[in-house]
Point group: C2
Chain length 420, copies 2
């Protein structure tokens, strides 16, 4: 970047190069895109020494700047993590190409043969925070689906991201695909993020990957469409008909398998008619979970700390759970309609009619019956990978992988048809 270049001019120039690359990528054969990613994975492995050296500089600067231990852990790369990064790219290379898929086709009465065919979206901007592996993951998914990508990582990982980006581009270019398929914003000037968000028409889609404040800023400012992942305030409702052992296992797994993931349960709803609510609360507590509740003043109430109104709208992402007794399915549906974030909600029930009503009426991206909310994940859903879990309602919802990074166009093949 020239010193005289403004962030807006930098992003405009990158978007223009990205558009040119996207036109080449859009018509690249499946095998070429797959080979480019295999070569990018190889280049990452070969550059492990450079990447570790660059990462050491980031870590040293982070330590000097007083980054938390958790942030330093997310930032730190070693041979094993770089190997996993390369394996992840190679795994994306092996996924089926969505581009060119025919969604539907029909011949009109006038003989015009119409089809809808999947095509890449175009130029995608990814804005993310400290984890440098996003550089590889996100770039791989975009390239696999024929999109050019503009990456803007966190300033604390800038050297690591540069080294990973350089290796990936070397691999992609060696495979004959355009080097500008994957571009990294090299300035740490935060104004570059604003320029990406404002680049309506130049960047087709922005995907933020990071914490709430990043996603909130992106959603508040963006003029470019955003595929965003907001809170996962997820519920498990244990119905009166639930099998006790299944209910206990699903509830404990949904909360405690990993408490920091967006698919974790945050609120447990227990049917007042469920025979043994105490067993569920005790199981959570024995697993190390703090339980805050609104379960009355009796023996069960003594098991929990009192919940405040704010608890029902809180994504703890920690070993904390809110619990409420509700009046059957209707009580659960009313609580969920009011407090769920539209991410993932589950019911445990033996009564199939009750469960099917729950599946039909809960308005969330993912609704599960007799399964843990921790399955909310593109890999677990068989998508091979995910760029995120979308909590909006348009374009793509729930785990987003290659198909979500495509759009379609209508093709019509005629024999001279004119419209009367």
């Amino acid at each position: 970047m020239l010193d005289s270049q403004t962030p807006a001019a930098l992003i405009a120039a990158m978007a223009m190069r990205g558009r040119a690359a996207s036109r080449l990528l859009a018509r690249a054969p499946d095998a070429d895109k797959a080979r480019a990613l295999v070569m990018a994975a190889d280049a990452i492995r070969a550059a492990a020494g450079d990447i570790i050296a660059a990462n050491a500089a980031d870590v040293a600067r982070g330590e000097a700047n007083g980054l938390s231990g958790a942030m330093l852990d997310r930032l730190r790369l070693d041979q094993a993590r770089i190997g996993a990064m390369a394996d992840g790219i190679a795994a994306v290379a092996a996924l089926a190409d969505p581009v060119g898929q025919v969604i539907d086709m029909a011949t009109r009465p006038n003989g015009l043969a119409l089809s809808r065919v999947r095509v890449p979206i175009g130029v995608i901007g990814i804005i993310y925070e400290s984890r440098p592996n996003v550089t590889a993951d996100a770039a791989a998914l975009c390239v696999r689906s024929g999109n050019a990508v503009i990456l803007r990582g966190g300033s604390e990982a800038v050297e690591s991201n540069r080294a990973i980006h350089a290796a990936m581009v070397a691999g992609i270019a060696a495979a004959g695909l355009p080097a500008h398929a994957v571009q990294l914003v090299s300035t740490t000037d935060r104004a570059a993020v604003g320029a990406m968000l404002a680049a309506e028409g130049a960047i087709d889609l922005i995907i933020p990957r990071g914490g709430k404040s990043l996603v909130a800023r992106v959603q508040a400012e963006a003029r470019v469409p955003v595929l965003a992942h907001l809170d996962g305030i997820n519920h498990v409702f244990v119905h009166a008909s639930a099998d006790a052992a299944m209910a206990r296992d699903v509830v404990v797994n949904a909360k405690m398998r990993r408490t920091g993931v967006c698919g974790a349960m945050e609120t447990l709803l227990i049917d007042r008619a469920y025979p043994d609510p105490a067993a569920l609360i005790i199981a959570l507590k024995e697993a190390g979970c703090a339980v805050r509740g609104d379960v009355g003043e009796d023996a069960i109430g003594a098991l929990v700390e009192p919940a405040s109104e704010a608890d029902w709208d809180t994504e703890y992402l920690d070993a904390i759970c809110s619990v409420a007794l509700v009046d059957g399915l209707d009580g659960a549906l009313a609580h969920i309609a009011r407090h769920a974030s539209g991410h993932t909600d589950a019911i445990v029930a033996a009564d199939a009619a009750v469960a099917e009503r729950f599946l039909a009426e809960v308005d969330s991206a993912i609704v599960l019956w007799n399964a843990s909310t921790q399955f909310a994940d593109g890999g677990e859903f068989g998508l091979g990978a995910e760029i995120g879990i979308a909590t909006g309602r348009l374009h793509a919802r729930g785990p987003v992988a290659l198909e979500g990074l495509t759009t379609y166009k209508w093709l019509g093949r005629g024999t001279g048809q004119v419209r009367p």
Copy 2:
């Protein structure tokens, strides 16, 4: 509306009622939604006298306010137009319900049975201008697909819209669906539009239907996702291999069948190797079209007025056409990549390999081979109706009908699966 109610409070209250109605609509059976629209159509026919009286008041006010003849014509309703409006609602009632369709399903190795099922988007805002029939069209499409709708029509049609809305709601409520499925913003305060555009999370999608200035305002201000239709700067490329009679017929139809529709051709691109470019220009001129061109100084050049640089980016929506000679397919692709608006572009060619490259490489919502661009229409595409033609790249592209007014959710049916 209470006089003390701000536009933001008005829209918030309407959106809340719309959300409640949308939850009922989302689980309404196909037959109920169809019956509600049949009854709405009947109610429109029965209220024809009231609607005509209300419309006469709008027309009189429009005349007093000096509306143009074209605007008064768009505004004016008579028995025939009201009959057509009712027939349109009944036709939407007869369309297949997209809600509940299973997009795909699979059972994971752990036994979790996953499916993606179409569901309504939720609460949709429609912002439109003088044509009161949009009140009926848009409401019918939204209700058919299980969405609640908030309508904001032009102030010049306010009495007509109220009468149409009252009749539709009477029919819908008589069929047992919620009256708030279709709400009309009753104030003509333009701040209500701003409140709709700002209603992030309360309104799920805004669809503007109207001229460029309306769409531009909506796109510039909206915090709610927008499904917008921008310019149709559409091209027909006549390749050297084109059949001369077919080329003439397609070109004249694409431009002149109706010059004011978004699918009309605005620029004709002629391959320098095409044997008789003059015949195409003469055919357009004989059909009453003014032709502006960049075709050299020879005999053909004498047929056209000179084009300025701005002509290549102009949507005339009139009996005017720009024409350029280009160097084969690559020249046409370069011109289209630079100037097309991503709406509809067509090639006339006998050479199938050339045509297939055009279909693959032109990045527009609709790409046609040997057919008139005037086919760009949901009805012509077999969708039964359309709420508009989307020129964006996300969610839905090209003609948008019922499917485009839905999203999906993931349903998982398990037997107690927990994630290891």
